[in-house]
Structure formats: structure tokens, C-alpha cells
């Protein structure tokens, strides 16, 4: 018996040893990337009360929002609502913001946001606005970087899968939105089999007003029915051109994973937008019926309006000779990236093992000397060999995107081999490679798609998370990794979770944005139709079944806070103005049984929540944002009487 116990004990010890060994192996496997051996922790540590060096804007992916992070700490600063309703602050629920999510399909409360791009002047980030695309119901949003609010959303007609968007030209002249899923234009009832030759891919050029940032569709270039996957503008010497990768030049409409991967080469479409702009300015193009929403949030009325537009100007590429060319690019290129000098156009052939780099100078030469290799739908195809600048040989598997550090290096992400590879622009030699965890999509260097990158960090935006964090059931967050790229070798510093699926990101030095970040809205500038700027204007009015409550709030009460005369079946509008003029004193508003959400009201702003009481009783409302030591006291009651009651409307504050 004793012996057997001893055996058992030693068996357990051996098991322990083995498992210890396992743990050891695991540790050493990840030890190489870890920060313990280096001072990585110190380099991403932002001490309490200190600020990050960069704002990082990471698309919220299928959350439809935009995540704002501090870099290098990776701290989430804000989830900025864009295309999706946000019950946390009432975005898309309040009467003021509902029109922002209006489309030609009606109210669309969600989207898939992909590619944020910060406004530029002369190819350098200027921090005025950030643009982002909604992929599912094609839209482009503009966010002001003073209020960090979505100020405008424009729908893109004749488009579907708004993916090669929203990239801007180097003076923010245009935001560009391309179609990933070609569709019949105009939409009609037809057989899907007739796709080939009949579907169109619209490339939309949206003009940006330099003063207000307001967007308007200048023209839509109606291209053959390929899938326009990603795009980037020419810059510096190639300013005036725009480049779009295509796949499915086979024009398959089913089982694309096979059928769209047959051609050895697809194209990068090179579009001379300046030429088309001139053509349009001289009366070119064709106005066609369309239907798309243009939504604007006015910062003085704090209210959004949605206007339905019924025409769009289309341009047939064949009508503007010399405006569009196809650059043959191997294997379903995904990312389309232009280096800071504007000379090199990188096609990231996602099914290829090589990276193809086209030369802008050679492209112009080939165009001039008509070095064509046939045409597609009348659009000249340039000869591959004549425009090729070089090939990065065997850098990895599945290249997706390339960013630049401004020191002559490029950083390409590889989805399949799950790594980021640094290579030299011009010599095409691979300089370094680092694994990422796992399957990186886009990479981002602050300003890395502009003329002037701030080449200090590289952020890998990964598609797959697996074991990187404590497990949270089958559904995980996404992961991002921060590399220091100031040395010869990239150095992994930090791994942090992100919201949604961050597709692309953009970052900007904090000092270009932080000083102008708004602290409050001025009450004196509040032009909201239902604002109550003066306590003497506080009132409750009935208009049939509609009851409008003109209310204000300040620490720590609502005015009025006792309301009687509301009846079952009424539609009650709480129009509430926050009278605070102090930084970081928003108040919230929630009322029992509301079928929408709460709302947060910033100092000086007015917001409206609709409440439809269904039961007789005395129902409380309260402030949801802990505003002061008397936050708990910030509450009120609405008396709801039967529908046939004849109790008159009355409202009070502080009366017994």
C-alpha cells in the first residue's frame, strides 16, 4: 500500500514536472517578442495624468463606429458613434441625431466602418476632419476634430460594398468612394447571370468644401463591373491621379473565391481625376436620376437634417480619353498604396507571394508612347513590363497593405503568413520581418499614407485574436500590436484589444488636434428651435397628442421637475438644454419605460428624447451622468393621467 502511494506521488511529481516544462516552453516561445528583456513597458507607459503622443483613430469595423485610442499606450479614449446607433449617448435615438442615419433605404441603424483618413493640406496631415466609409449601405461620414462628432454623412448612389473608400486627395479636394460589389446601374430587376458586361462599378469623387468641410458628389466614374477593392491617391508628383485595385476582372457572380481567382493578373485602375474634373467643369458628364441622402448636423442648432437628392452626374470613362488606364497587377491585388514621393504604386496581390511595384514615371511614359497591351471595355491596358518598377521577391504570403515611414522604408502586412515585413523602397530588399498575432489586415504608421509620415510606430490591426488575452467565450475582441520602428529592426512593444474589427486606422500627433478640442458648446450660440436659454421660457405645450416639454438642467436639477397633465397615448418630447458652461459636466436624461435610449447632453447643447407613456401613474426621470455631489437628487416626476382625463398641463420647480 505504502509503495503504491509512493509510486502515485512520484507519478504526480513527474506530471508536474512535465507540465512545468510545458509552461517553460510556452514562455520561451513568446519570450522573444515580450517586453521583459527590453524596456518596452517603459516606452508605452504613459504616466497617470500624462497624455499620449498620438491620437489613433481605428475603424470600429462591424460596430460601425470609430475608436479613438492614445498611442503608444493603446488606451481607448472614446468610442465615437458614426454609422450605428449608440444608446450610451443617444446617437441615432434623439430627434436631433436620427436624421444622420437616414438613407434612401430609410433609417439604417448600423453599418460596417472601414477606412478612416485624416484631412491633408499639401499632402501633410492637418487635423481638420477625419472621414470614414460605411461599407454595407454605401456612405461616407465626416467627423470634425474639434467636437469629435460626426458632422455629416453622405450616401453614395449606384454603389454597393463601399470598400475602396474613404481616401482623400492631398489637399482634401476630394474624398473618394469606390464600389466593391458592382451592381446594375440604375438598379433593375434582371437575371444575375447577365452580370458580365452589364453591371457597373461606380468610382465616386466627393468634393469637400475647404471652409466648412461639406461634401457634395462631383461625379461618378462608371467603370466596368469589376470589384474595386482599395484605393489611394497619387501624391506629390502623382497628385491628380487616383489608383484603385480591382479583383474579379473575371466578372464572376457566384463562388467568387474560385471564379474570381482565375486571371493571372487583375488591374490597378489609374484615374486622372484632374482631367475628369476639367471635363466636368466644362459641362461634361451626364446627369442621371438617383436617390441618396445627404445628412448634416448643424453645430449651432445641434440638429441634423436629411436631404434626399435625386440626381447624380455620371462620367463614362470612354468619353474622357486619357483619363483612365489599367495597370496589370498579379493575383487579385488588395491594398493599393503610394509611397510618400508619389513615384511608386504598390499592388499587394493578396494571392501572390510577391509584391508588385509600379512606377508612376514609367506609367506616364507608357501612356505617352502608347505601350498598350490591349484594352478592357475600351480602357487601355498598359504593358506590365513597361511600367514595372520592381518586385519585392518572396517577402511573405498574402500581402495586404503597405505603409511608409518617410525614411525610404515600406512596411507590408501579410495575412496568410501573419507577419509584417519591412523592405527598402527602390532596392526592394527585405530588411526585417516580425510575426504578428494573428493574421494582420491593415497596418498603420501615423501619417503613413501621406507625404510626411511620422515614422515612430507601426500598428498592426489584426483579424484573429485566439489566445492573446484572457478568454471571453467564443466571441473575442480584436487585437492590435504596436511596434517601435525607429531602429533597424521592428520591435514589438504592446498588444492591446480593440473594438469591432479595426480595418484601417489613421493617427496624428496629438499636438495637432488636442489644443483645439472643444470643451463646451456656448449657450449663447445655441440656435436650437426648442432650446430654453432663459428660465422664464421654461414651459410645457400641448399640440393635439403631442406634448412638448421645454426643459433645462443645471447642477443639480431639471427645470421643471414636476409635470402634470400628460395623458396615456401622448407623444411626449423632452427638449432639454444643458445650462452648464463648464468642461466635463454633461448631464444625462432617462425616463422609465422609454422605448429608445437615454441621452447625454453636453454643456450648452439641447437634445430631444421622445417618450410615449403607456400606463397611468407618476413616473420618474433622472440624470444618468454622475454630475455632482447632488446627482442623486437630480430627478423629477411626470404624472400620466388616463387618456380621457381633463387635467390641464402644469409644470413646477421647487414648489410645495
Amino acid at each position: 500500500m505504502k509503495k503504491s502511494i509512493n509510486i502515485l506521488i512520484s507519478a504526480i511529481m513527474v506530471a508536474g514536472l512535465v507540465s512545468c516544462n510545458d509552461g517553460g516552453t510556452k514562455k520561451s516561445k513568446s519570450g522573444g517578442q515580450g517586453g521583459l528583456a527590453t524596456n518596452a513597458a517603459e516606452r508605452v507607459y504613459v504616466a497617470p495624468g500624462e497624455h499620449d503622443e498620438f491620437y489613433g483613430f481605428m475603424s470600429g469595423g462591424f460596430s460601425g463606429q470609430l475608436g479613438v485610442y492614445g498611442l503608444p499606450s493603446g488606451r481607448l479614449l472614446k468610442v465615437l458613434p458614426v454609422f450605428s446607433q449608440n444608446p450610451e449617448n443617444g446617437w441615432g435615438y434623439t430627434e436631433e441625431t436620427k436624421p444622420m442615419l437616414n438613407t434612401s433605404f430609410g433609417f439604417v441603424p448600423w453599418d460596417d466602418s472601414h477606412h478612416p483618413d485624416i484631412s491633408q493640406t499639401e499632402g501633410v496631415l492637418d487635423g481638420r476632419w477625419i472621414f470614414i466609409n460605411g461599407n454595407n449601405t454605401p456612405r461616407i461620414a465626416r467627423i470634425g476634430l474639434e467636437s469629435f462628432k460626426t458632422e455629416e454623412i453622405i450616401e453614395i448612389p449606384n454603389s454597393a460594398g463601399n470598400h475602396s473608400s474613404s481616401f482623400i486627395t492631398e489637399n482634401t479636394e476630394y474624398v473618394v468612394a469606390g464600389t466593391r460589389f458592382s451592381v446594375p446601374v440604375p438598379q433593375k430587376d434582371m437575371s444575375i447571370n447577365e452580370y458580365k458586361g452589364n453591371f457597373k462599378g461606380a468610382l465616386t469623387f466627393i468634393k469637400v468644401d475647404q471652409e466648412t468641410g461639406r461634401m457634395n458628389i462631383k461625379f461618378q466614374l462608371m467603370m466596368p463591373g469589376f470589384n474595386y477593392d482599395l484605393s489611394h491617391p497619387g501624391r506629390d508628383k502623382s497628385h491628380g491621379w487616383f489608383f484603385f485595385t480591382t479583383y474579379n476582372t473575371e466578372e464572376a457572380h457566384s463562388l467568387l473565391e474560385v471564379n474570381a481567382s482565375q486571371n493571372d493578373k487583375d488591374f490597378i485602375a489609374a484615374v486622372n481625376w484632374k482631367k475628369i474634373e476639367e471635363y466636368v467643369n466644362n459641362g461634361g458628364g451626364k446627369k442621371v436620376p438617383a436617390r441618396y441622402a445627404h445628412n448634416i448636423l448643424d453645430e449651432h442648432t445641434h440638429t441634423a437634417t436629411s436631404t434626399m437628392i435625386d440626381k447624380v452626374l455620371t462620367v463614362d470613362p470612354l468619353e474622357v480619353p486619357g483619363a483612365v488606364y489599367f495597370l496589370p497587377t498579379p493575383k487579385s491585388p488588395h491594398g493599393c498604396d503610394v509611397d510618400p514621393t508619389g513615384e511608386y504604386i504598390i499592388g499587394n496581390g493578396k494571392l501572390s507571394a510577391d509584391l508588385t511595384v509600379h512606377s508612376f514615371t514609367k506609367m506616364l511614359d507608357a501612356i505617352e508612347n502608347k505601350k498598350f497591351d490591349g484594352e478592357a471595355y475600351g480602357i487601355p491596358i498598359l504593358n506590365f513590363e513597361d511600367i514595372l518598377a520592381g518586385v519585392v521577391k518572396q517577402p511573405g504570403l498574402g500581402p495586404l497593405h503597405t505603409e511608409f515611414d518617410g525614411k525610404g522604408n515600406a512596411y507590408t502586412t501579410f495575412f496568410i503568413s501573419s507577419e509584417v515585413v519591412k523592405w527598402k523602397v527602390g532596392t526592394w530588399e527585405v530588411l526585417d520581418r516580425q510575426p504578428v498575432f494573428y493574421s494582420v489586415g491593415h497596418g498603420m504608421i501615423p501619417g503613413g499614407n501621406s507625404r510626411k509620415p511620422f515614422g515612430k510606430y507601426f500598428v498592426a490591426l489584426n483579424k484573429i485574436t485566439k489566445d492573446r488575452y484572457l478568454p471571453t467565450g467564443p466571441e473575442l475582441t480584436q487585437s492590435a500590436q504596436l511596434f517601435d520602428i525607429t531602429g533597424d529592426k521592428m520591435e514589438l512593444l504592446l498588444d492591446f484589444p480593440t473594438i469591432g474589427e479595426p480595418h484601417y486606422a489613421a493617427a496624428i500627433p496629438a499636438e495637432m488636434v488636442a489644443p483645439k478640442s472643444r470643451k463646451i458648446f456656448k449657450l449663447a450660440e445655441n440656435k436650437h428651435k426648442y432650446a430654453v436659454l432663459d428660465n422664464s421660457d421654461v414651459r410645457v405645450e400641448r399640440d393635439g397628442k403631442e406634448v412638448h416639454i421645454y426643459m433645462n438642467m443645471i447642477r443639480s436639477h431639471f427645470n421643471p421637475d414636476n409635470i402634470e397633465g400628460v395623458k396615456v397615448g401622448d407623444k411626449v418630447y423632452f427638449h432639454i438644454t444643458n445650462h452648464e458652461q463648464d468642461f466635463d459636466v454633461p448631464h444625462g436624461f432617462a425616463v422609465i419605460g422609454a422605448n429608445n435610449a437615454e441621452m447625454l447632453i453636453m454643456p450648452g447643447a439641447t437634445e430631444t428624447l421622445v417618450w410615449e407613456p403607456k400606463q397611468v401613474g407618476v413616473w420618474p426621470f433622472y440624470c444618468t451622468d454622475f454630475c455632482s455631489a447632488l446627482h442623486q437628487e437630480m430627478q423629477g416626476y411626470v404624472r400620466v393621467s388616463p387618456a380621457d382625463s381633463d387635467i390641464e398641463l402644469s409644470w413646477t420647480l421647487g414648489e410645495d
Binding site: 447642477r555 458652461q581 463648464d582 455631489a629 447632488l630
Partner: protein
């Protein structure tokens, strides 16, 4: 007495600074106010250091039952002080000119200084009275009625000059640019007196 007269004129004119720069400044910092709230006290009225500081100070003060910070029309001082200062500047300049022309004894310079000093002390006394009233005459229905350790009701008079911790606030009360300008201006009138005396004795 030319030099003394000029110094006298410059000295009195420096008081003009009071119409442009604050006489006194009180800053209120707290954990929730990393950027402190502040008020600049001018002879014509009280203004916030930042646009909404007065409103926000009033908002906080209502918890402890303090009266709102007085508007221009609510205090006779804001009407009288500018007139008195204006008069003193005019007098100083006239005395300086007459001194410059040799029509007046240098002793007038000292006389002006003494009158101005008395007025200044009265002003400080009045200011302190106001601070006492403001800090102690509290609304009996105040939201927070705090007591000192000895059981007496807590009052909130800001310091006339210097630093004091009041509840969660760090209160700093210091002369403003205007006060420094009076100080230098008045010093110059004394200098004018001595220079005048020296010139006279020559």
C-alpha cells in the same frame, strides 16, 4: 523741478493701468478643477479669468449658500472707484505739470502720495469687508451647512492676500497687474518728492 515734475506725471499716469488690468486676482483650484477657476477684480467690476468662470464659481458657491458674485450695478464701489482713481490721476498730472513749471512746491507730491495711500487703505479695508460679508453671510437654506471642529458654522472668507485651503479648494488671492502698477506709480511720486527736494535745494 523739471525732472521731479516729469516723474510725478509718469507716476500718476501709471494708475491708468487700473482701467485696463485687474487690481486683484483670486484663483480656486480643486481636484475637479485642474485648470483653476479664477476671478479678476477690476475697479470697474469683477470678471472671470476664463469666459465662464464667474458662472461656474457661482454654481459651486450655491452649494454652501454664498451669494452670487456681485454684478457691476450691485456694488457702489464699481461706480465710485473709477471716478476717484480718475480724479487722483488728473490731480497728480496737474500737480506734476505745475511742479514742472515751478509753480508749486515739491511738497505737493508727497501730499498727493499721502492722500492716495489713505484712499488705497480705505479701498483695501472696504474690499476686506466685502470678502467677510461674502464669505460669512450665507443662505440659511444652503445645501451644505458645514461646521468647524468647535461646532461653529464654517465660513468661507477668501484670504485678503495669500493662500488658504477651503474645503476641497486651494484659494490663492494675490495682487494683479493693476496693483503692481499703482505700487510703482505711487513709489514714483515719492521719488518725485525727493528729486524735487534735491532740485529745490540746489
Amino acid at each position: 523741478m523739471k525732472k521731479a515734475g516729469i516723474i510725478m506725471i509718469i507716476g500718476s499716469l501709471l494708475l491708468l493701468g487700473l482701467f485696463k488690468f485687474p487690481l486683484w486676482n483670486i484663483m480656486l483650484g480643486a481636484p475637479q478643477y485642474p485648470d483653476p477657476l479664477g476671478m479678476d477684480i477690476y475697479i470697474q467690476g469683477i470678471q472671470g479669468v476664463e469666459e465662464f468662470d464667474i458662472q461656474n464659481i457661482d454654481g459651486l458657491n450655491h452649494y454652501i449658500g454664498m451669494k452670487p458674485i456681485p454684478k457691476v450695478e450691485e456694488m457702489w464701489e464699481f461706480d465710485v472707484f473709477p471716478k476717484v482713481v480718475g480724479l487722483m490721476i488728473a490731480l497728480g498730472v496737474i500737480i506734476g505739470i505745475l511742479g514742472f513749471l515751478g509753480k508749486l512746491s515739491y511738497k505737493w507730491f508727497l501730499g498727493w502720495f499721502i492722500v492716495m495711500s489713505i484712499l488705497g487703505l480705505l479701498g483695501m479695508y472696504d474690499f476686506n469687508l466685502w470678502l467677510i460679508d461674502y464669505g460669512t453671510d450665507l443662505d440659511p437654506k444652503a445645501i451644505m451647512k458645514l461646521e468647524n471642529l468647535d461646532g461653529t458654522p464654517m465660513t468661507y472668507k477668501p484670504p485678503l492676500i495669500g493662500y488658504q485651503k477651503m474645503l476641497n479648494f486651494d484659494v490663492d488671492s494675490w495682487p494683479g497687474v493693476g496693483a503692481y502698477m499703482i505700487f510703482i506709480g505711487m513709489l514714483l511720486t515719492v521719488v518725485a518728492f525727493f528729486v524735487g527736494k534735491k532740485e529745490y535745494n540746489k
